[in-house]
Amino acid sequence: MSDSCHVNPLQQLNSKNNLQFDNQHHTTFSHISSNVGSSSGYHAKETAFMNQGQNGMPQNILHHHQGPLSPMGQGPLSPMSNGSSSRQLGHTQSNISDVSDEWLNQFSSMKVHDPLEFSNDYKRLYESYIRNSTMGTPTPARSRQPIQQQQQQQTNTHVNYRPLLSRDHQSGYFPSYRTAQPIASQWTTNAPLSAPEFETTNGQGSIDSYFDLEFNNVENELQKQETESTSQEQMNFEQVEFQKHAKDIVRSCTPDVPASPDQTTSSQLHSKFASSKFMGLMRKVSDGVVTIKKTERELFTPETGEVVGNEYFPVLDERQEQL
């Protein structure tokens, strides 16, 4: 059969390699031939390639690979790790073997799209979840089990609840939310919580309602934080604006030159301005001595904290008939 008639691309490629580099194949894989259990180069390659599915990389590469594995310890290696493997092979083997292994590396680096595969975010969060649960964080007595067992539980139950829900107070993303419910306290301590246990104690409906409740709590707290920060910024902005307006008022009411004797009215007005309490306040505001309180509806001196002017008294926003 001619090369072009090979249905199997491996055979097609191998037949070409056999023609050109038949002699070197033995050299290339001579040291692994005992492991593979075949003296044939073609067979060795095919076996190595087929075994990739089990170990995540071809066996011949595994044997020479000295670098770290992927953090997950499974799944395809990153292109960088493939590259480093190739470079390591290059140090130990001849150039000819590099050329002959190109197709193998290409095939091994091919990624198959699995529609059922979890997303990268999910994998990352799940990984951090496992890491957190194995880093000696305090766990409630109910879930003090061997780590392996806990991991096994999580692996089994991750479909029922997402690792995203394991609240991480250190991350700062969620506010420090604590509820009096025991289940909630377990969640706050990052303890692994298996869905089957949950289901048996509360039922699926209670899980859903619990999630809804917790989400609402978190959203409310986030909203509250945002509102507080926005109002603070607004008040700061108000203070700046207030000072700006005060400067404008002082500037527009201050005479450039002393009024001439014939300008009696103007001089009267300016003398009134000079003794005006309002203008005095505006001068203080423009100098930054007095400003608006951020939280209360009062003027005050930032340096001393002393209230300037009238103290504010809260008044109920009610009508007579409502009382």
């Binding site: 007005l269 008294f313 809260p314 109920l316 009382l323």
Partner: protein, 387 residues
Amino acid sequence: MLRYHTQGFSGYGLQYSPYFDNKIALATGSNFGLIGNGKLFLLDIERNGQIRESNSFLTQDCLFDIAWNELQANQVLTAQGDGSLRLFDITLKQYPIAIFKEHEREVLSCDWNLVSKNKFVSSSWDGDVKIWSPTRSQGSLLTLKPRHADTPITGSRVDTIEARSKQIPLSNQREHNLDTNQNKSCVYQAQFSPHDDNIIISSSGSSMVSLFDLRVNSQSSNGSVPQFDFMAHGGLEALCCDFNKYRPHIIATGGVDSRVKIWDLRMLRSGPMKVHGPYGSQLVCVNEIVGGHELAVRQVKWSPHSSHHLLSTSYDMTACVWNDLSFNGKKVTGKTNMTDAINHGLIKRMDKHTEFVFGADWSLWGQPGIVATTSWDGNTFVWNGLK
């Protein structure tokens, strides 16, 4: 001259009661109305000349204007800084009997309809004028939208962007170099005509004075637009307006240009006094008082007893009573107050206030010419404006 001092509260608006000859309602704000509580004072003028506080109501926010209920002798309406209007019964304590809240910013004026008496009008910093019924606190009856100087004239080809990019030409005076665009939408005052319960005028920060006729259906997407408007104070803010009580077509306005202007509504649409400009009709008034005040004019009030007497208050800390020289009480004279070279028709200037003078009102009772003024200094003076 009678005096009452509201300790810690600056006066913004006052009005004589239409039912009691000795009662004055006074709207005030703490910290010069900048921030803090407001307080409604009910003042009684005693026979011995003393002014006594008969009742008061502390409010959440500063009060900027006041209007007595023309139907109920014991009810008074206040315009509050939190965007609400509140109706108080002066025989009760502490709380209002009705709250009308629809404005989004400070309510700067309120006025009760003197003809139909079951409506009142309010104007606000949010740019709206609203008509209310005292029996309906759920919401306003109607919202009116005065046109601002930067919006194109309806039906004209004035391009909006072009109009906005143009600054209204002002003088080179330093006090005019401030940011004049910030309060353009603010409607400082709105008032019902005392002659026709369907006519309303308003003055706004865009210098526009707008006339609304409630009988005309002029609904736009977000409110009724004015039937007619004009630029009253050359691009500077028009702070106040008032109908003459005897001449239905005569109004007076005051503005940041320190001028009091008197307009004849019959002469606005046509005639040689009309000047076309990029922002609409810029008209020439029938009379104006130039140089009477050194700073912006905050309020103008026509006398309830005379067709040609006018009271004005100003940021120059004075209040003045003027004689409108264009009318002698019987006919138009053809003169203006500028023809009086000496005092420009001034009858009396009251300069006892030590801060900006805001509110003023003519007494409806007793000898004509008694006026009351209130100021940011906390003083309320009652004095004779014609002597």
